[in-house]
Symmetry: C2
Subunit: 376 residues, 2 copies
């Protein structure tokens, strides 16, 4: 049986990128390695839509998030956290571990934090040094209005730090134009690479704040990474085979073009949402984003069991809800190296699985709605 | 021209491991992924010679070192650092970033810290909570008498933390038998994998100390990793393709057997040292280790230029000295997926390069000495 990955990270990796990973390993301090990192860094800037440096860390996305926290905040410094799910809670955990004085604005799972909520928080906490937000809340499928957040935070002394780990490269996110000071992303989402690398952009405003903040870490001290990336180098041995392979995937992204990438994801996401609803299912996110579609498990249906059956019978691997959400939602990723025809297959597999388990679904309705949305 | 890597990290990766890296990416929370991590963890314990857990972190070795520091030491806690080169200084930098009260025992580059020096430091600082040491000081080629260090530290309340990043898996290191509480290693040295993963073993004594120490970090908090590894899982998205490939290389290591691996490295290292001396060159390390051989650049010879010429003419990539040592030493790695015939080639390339640059060398003397040592 063919197996197909539709989890919101890791995502499928292009064949030419996988083959790059099978090449012999080189020395990471050679001129060739620096030339590769230089090209990767320039292409990352294009994906981030920033003229500022983007550093590459060898870690998961969480490592990139911790780098932002320890490099930007002094102990006990006030921070505003906008939390709409598990990844907002990840910010909370990191902020707590580093003794930040965090004011949390949180909404229930499935909802989005609004710009109005942020405006109120900024008024109540004018001494906040940073605002932490999430572009794509992968645990619920919600996307945030980062552009509006950016406008509000830009008018204050605080910096805006955005977890763009899943989302960046799939959905519109204009770092500089939207006044985002720090964006964190990861290799295993829209960047079409296996896990292992985190990317962090740093604005002038953030850089100034870092330079005025005392050092609290070593490996994740962004000042070290920024000093090295200026010479196309890294402070510590990087996962250099992943960096070399990232170049291959970045070239593919550049060839498609960022606006075209966003448009493709938007179209496939809209078609997926139409298909889901045509199958009589409900979307979970009130403000769905284009990186993944999160589906409410209908009452009476065994959520986790359905996913297992779909994987076993058809080879399609979707993601279950995490922690308390387990069995309550299905998460279908359509970001990165996944096109409309791939997603059509996933819709077909879900239809067949639901039909086989006795759920009332008009077989064919989902894929027909998907096709109509794509043709429209 | 064929190119061959002899830097002390990254090191060559077996072909079957490289091919594993070209396989499609899977979901890191699947039962299959957990089974792989379980097998990797068990095999890592065999390499470490420990019955205690070994956690896998997605980072360079430095990340593993920082994990030990932040998980074990409270702010301002006293530590003893045994420093014999650049990697001792790496401990120093991490300890400083985390406000440790560090008593440094240091020796000049090329020398080894002796057990007597440690005994004195332990007597003078009975309140030290941890001792930090280096198994293979890759910047100089020195190996430390970790067994003796372990005996001394075991008799105190302090824990012994060893940077075994380059060295572990190539030279004898018996974690439990030698009373080493924490050993840090990395994938890109004797483990025959590209960079990207760090491994950390934690003794019962270290675990107890961690549990009594307040949390100071998030991504590198070893308590999180230990809790997860007990279920063959990780707290954050791991570089799962590297883990899967690590299994392939670990199986190769197990098939050879740890004692056989150590013996092979010892024999090749001895042959390399014999060859170097037969070429009229001097060893840099007073207590050379079996992971790499570090050669004093003879006076009048352009150290960096010679390495560049050897790489350009013969495709052999050795490592230069780092920082102040640049141009003063040559570093030839013979750890991991490198056998005697590979190293013989490197000796031959060095002979030819030196001969071409006018250095007085009897062409053939080095390779003959190497062969004699191998036959002996």
């Amino acid at each position: 049986m063919k197996t197909r990955l539709f989890t919101p990270g890791p995502t499928p990796v292009p064949e030419e990128t996988l083959l790059e990973l099978a090449k012999p390993v080189g020395y990471h301090r050679s001129a060739e390695a620096k030339a590769i990192l230089k090209e990767v860094s320039e292409l990352l800037k294009e994906v981030f839509r920033t003229a500022n440096p983007v550093v590459t860390l060898t870690s998961s996305g969480t490592g990139g998030m911790e780098a932002a926290v320890t490099s930007l905040l002094a102990a006990n410094e006030k921070a505003i956290l906008l939390s709409a799910g598990r990844w907002g809670e990840r910010w909370k955990g990191i902020l707590k571990a580093h003794a930040a004085n965090t004011h949390i604005v949180s909404v229930p799972y499935g909802k989005a934090v609004t710009p109005e909520m942020l405006a109120t928080a900024l008024k109540e906490h004018p001494d906040a040094g940073a605002v932490f937000a999430t572009l794509s809340e992968t645990s619920t499928g919600v996307g945030h209005d980062i552009q509006a957040f950016g406008k509000l935070v830009a008018a204050t002394p605080a910096v805006l730090v955005v977890d763009g780990i899943s989302g960046l490269g799939a959905m519109e996110c204009r770092t500089d134009e939207w006044n985002i000071d720090v964006v964190v992303s990861g290799s295993q989402k829209a960047f079409m690479l296996p896990p292992g690398l985190a990317y962090v952009s740093v604005s002038e405003k953030a850089k100034k704040k870092m330079d005025a903040t005392s050092v609290r870490g070593f490996y994740f001290d962004l000042r070290r990474s920024l000093a090295k990336i200026a010479e196309s180098d890294t402070p510590f041995t990087p996962a250099n085979t992943l960096i070399k392979a990232q170049l291959v995937s970045l070239k593919r992204m550049k060839a498609e073009g960022m606006e075209a990438l966003w448009a493709r994801h938007a179209k496939v996401a809209a078609a997926t949402r139409a298909a889901v609803q045509a199958m009589g299912l409900e979307l979970f996110a009130e403000r769905p984003n284009n990186a993944l579609t999160v589906i409410h498990v209908p009452s009476g249906v065994d959520g986790s069991g359905t996913l297992k059956a779909m994987e076993k019978t058809h080879g399609y691997k979707l993601a279950d809800g995490q922690d308390d959400m387990k069995g309550k939602i299905w998460r279908l990723s359509h970001m990165g190296y996944v096109d409309a025809f791939d997603v059509l297959g996933a819709i077909a597999a879900l239809e067949l699985t639901l039909s086989a388990t006795g759920f009332k679904v008009t077989v064919g309705a989902g894929v027909a709605a998907f096709q109509k949305a794509m043709a429209g």
